[in-house]
């Protein structure tokens, strides 16, 4: 499931199985509502993270993760209520006019790839452990706030 428009900008390099394993373990160890498994154990193209609950009114949700050998990535959220959004990192040659660097956010409700609506991502750091920890924490913040706003504000006000 890709949601929204087709992606014209691609991730650089092959999908990295070792990184997907590390990301799988982070979700399984740190998020009690999530169960993460490789889509194919030997030749994985993505990590599927199934949540037993969704954000706002959704009852279930999933995050599909791709990570390449060159540290490009996609974390795509989709839920039973039809909401899609995505954090990503890959070159866009200035195509996303609001986004200065490679890290960006395709906003809900449809993970829009319209160059004028793609936002700068609140996630700035590179190692996959920090990107994954950020996604886990942002999901939780949004879950408890009953709002999608924290997902890219990067803040969880008291």
């Amino acid at each position: 499931m890709t949601g929204g428009q087709t992606e014209s900008h691609s991730l650089r390099g092959p999908i990295d199985r070792p990184a997907l394993l590390a990301i799988r373990d982070l979700f399984n160890d740190n998020e009690p509502l999530a169960t993460a498994t490789l889509d194919d154990f030997l030749n994985p193209r993505a990590l599927k993270v199934e949540y037993d609950d969704g954000l706002q009114s959704a009852e279930r949700s999933r995050i599909d993760v791709q990570w390449t050998t060159r540290n490009d990535y996609k974390y795509h959220y989709t839920d039973s209520g039809g909401v899609n959004l995505r954090w990503g990192r890959h070159p866009h040659n200035g195509g996303y006019i609001q986004v200065p660097g490679p890290e960006h956010y395709h906003p809900p409700p449809d993970a829009s790839s319209d160059p004028s609506t793609v936002e700068e991502s609140c996630i700035k750091q590179q190692p996959e452990t920090l990107v994954t920890r950020a996604v886990i924490k942002l999901w939780r913040a949004a879950y408890h706030a009953d709002s999608l706003t924290p997902l890219n504000s990067g803040r969880n006000p008291p």
């Binding site: 691609s10 390099g13 070792p18 037993d52 060159r70 750091q125 920090l130 920890r133 879950y143």
Partner: protein, 187 residues
């Protein structure tokens, strides 16, 4: 359903997860984790930055990891030592992970399947490797008249490279399983 605990308030997600990571790990663990998936030669300052430790500490741990065979080193253009994950160490690690879950028979079947898939790519696009395919694509863009038949996209090139890389891990796993069988017979 019991939900996860509500996260503490935070003002900046990057700082919040960095503090969690640093609080729960030693500098050695962070340096090892960062370099474990660093595949391009990288200097100690950059790795120290990603691991949130000092360059001096990073260098010390990187040199230990190099002695252990986890990391390989080379000298960069300006004389600085560059570090990356040892390919041998990565292959052995992935092979062990595969063998912990997949039987030799299943491994054989899946290797044949991945080989077939690569054969199909080669046949469909008339090139031996995804790198050639990328070159072909560029040429086709430059010369509209040479465009024929299927037009592979970035997705196909990545799929091909991914399968080739995962096939290498699977082949290593099978080789190790076979070697172990005969080593065991000798004992």
């Amino acid at each position: 359903m019991t939900g996860p605990a509500e996260p503490e308030p935070f003002e900046d997600i990057n700082q919040a997860v960095r503090e969690d990571w640093v609080a729960g790990t030693t500098p050695y663990e962070r340096v090892r984790e960062v370099v474990s998936r660093t595949y391009a030669p990288t200097d100690a300052d950059t790795l120290a930055d990603h691991a949130h430790t000092s360059p001096k500490t990073a260098r010390k741990h990187l040199n230990t990891l190099a002695d252990d065979g986890f990391v390989t080193t080379e000298t960069g253009a300006n004389g600085a030592t560059l570090y990356r994950r040892s390919a041998e160490s990565l292959v052995v690690e992935q092979a062990a992970d595969i063998l912990s879950e997949v039987s030799t028979e299943e491994l054989r079947d899946r290797i044949a399947e991945m080989r077939d898939q690569i054969g199909e790519f080669q046949q469909e696009y008339g090139v031996e490797s995804p790198e050639e395919l990328a070159v072909d694509q560029t040429n086709a863009l430059l010369d509209e008249s040479t465009r024929t038949g299927e037009e592979p996209d970035e997705e196909t090139i990545r799929e091909w490279k991914t399968t080739r890389r995962n096939l290498a891990f699977a082949n290593a796993a099978l080789s190790i399983a076979n070697a172990e069988k005969f080593v065991d017979m000798e004992s």
